[in-house]
Symmetry: C2
Subunit: 222 residues, 2 copies
Amino acid sequence: MRAHDLETTRKKILRAALAEFSANGPQGARTAAIARRAGVNKRMLFYCFGSKAGLYREVLRHKLAQRASIMESTPEDLGSALVHWFDNAARDPVWIRLLHWEALATGGGTVAAEERRKLFDQALAIFRRWIERGSLEKEVDPAQWMISMLGLTIFPLAFPHIVRLATGLASDDAAFKAERHEFLRWIAGRIGGGAITANAVAGESEAGTAHASAARVDGANP
Amino acid sequence: MRAHDLETTRKKILRAALAEFSANGPQGARTAAIARRAGVNKRMLFYCFGSKAGLYREVLRHKLAQRASIMESTPEDLGSALVHWFDNAARDPVWIRLLHWEALATGGGTVAAEERRKLFDQALAIFRRWIERGSLEKEVDPAQWMISMLGLTIFPLAFPHIVRLATGLASDDAAFKAERHEFLRWIAGRIGGGAITANAVAGESEAGTAHASAARVDGANP
DNA sequence: ACAATTATTAACCGCGCGGTTAACGTGGGT
DNA sequence: ACCCACGTTAACCGCGCGGTTAATAATTGT
């Protein structure tokens, strides 16, 4: 690694910025803190990314691309998909926090709009497929389905203090995750149109309850 | 109103502080901005509440008490209750924002712990009652039910940018609210144990679809 | 060898923050 | 009439922020 290597410097800054922006938000994040985390002179942030806002934008674009690739690997079975989303969100608290900061942002229009559209179009396509295949009730809008399923999976991870008050457990506690898995598989059965998913529903959960593991039917959209 | 009236000054400060804390969070809120909003000298904040943190604490206590009283007026029917929670949350974006800030807060232990416990115990009691009465599947934990129903109602209001990307509508748009009402009543029927709520499910939604209005069965817990 | 370009650095700037100081009205008790 | 505790005020303080300046070290082209 040479002394003058802008690309690695950029990467170090992006990593540190992701952590700092996630921790303190686009406004609360301190450029000096990012530089310290990255082991880089503060001036380099502006040299590479122009401004704090420009750096934030780049950080978001990276993260959105990463989430899109996770969305691509969603299993075809509804229950498994819910568990998949839940686990991946639980594994990435940084992403959850960025969602919060975005929800709280008022002015200054959407950043990285195109990456965002791509991610959501992927998700909506999945729900449309489920509806066509009869895994989900067709009288409900795909967007409503998507919002609802995201609510069931992400909400407890986004508001851990609510989980703590309701269950007494931390939302990253293995016991809570197991409970949630069980619930998600159960409700996937209740919600589905009754055709494909309903059979795979009595799946095995980590809670130890008797279940059969749900089959994955990746790829091959009609 | 006398010139020297500490009580009204306190109230003015609390109102302004609620707005400012909701807008910018406990850290991002500026004491000067609160004072300006309240039409009061900045020094009075510290004279009345000691510190910014003390003021934040008092603001939260007030809001939690208000939310508890809303929780008390929850209808007995599950579908109506979901709509009730949704509407009341939609009517109070300030509260939603405070939830976000709390979820993002890392250090500095819980503020107003007792008011919070009271609010959640109320909610949990409602779910236990629903389970006992057969309105909700009894094999699922009350806490899991509560988290899930909060997810379905609050999530779209907490993450309006996700709603916008999924539906193209703003989450405070009347059209979206109507769609959501319809979905909430529909899913209440799918989820319930099948006894009481299932009958009340084909409820009327504001979307104009033909439905019969769901009956409210307030009070009288066993 | 050396100039030109690129990457990196320390030091600096103006500003706005949370919180404080000290002084100044105001009004009820006597 | 006067006091004195309470409510209110303008002005101030040290600090840390985003962003910049100008000088310097490494790399590249010739």
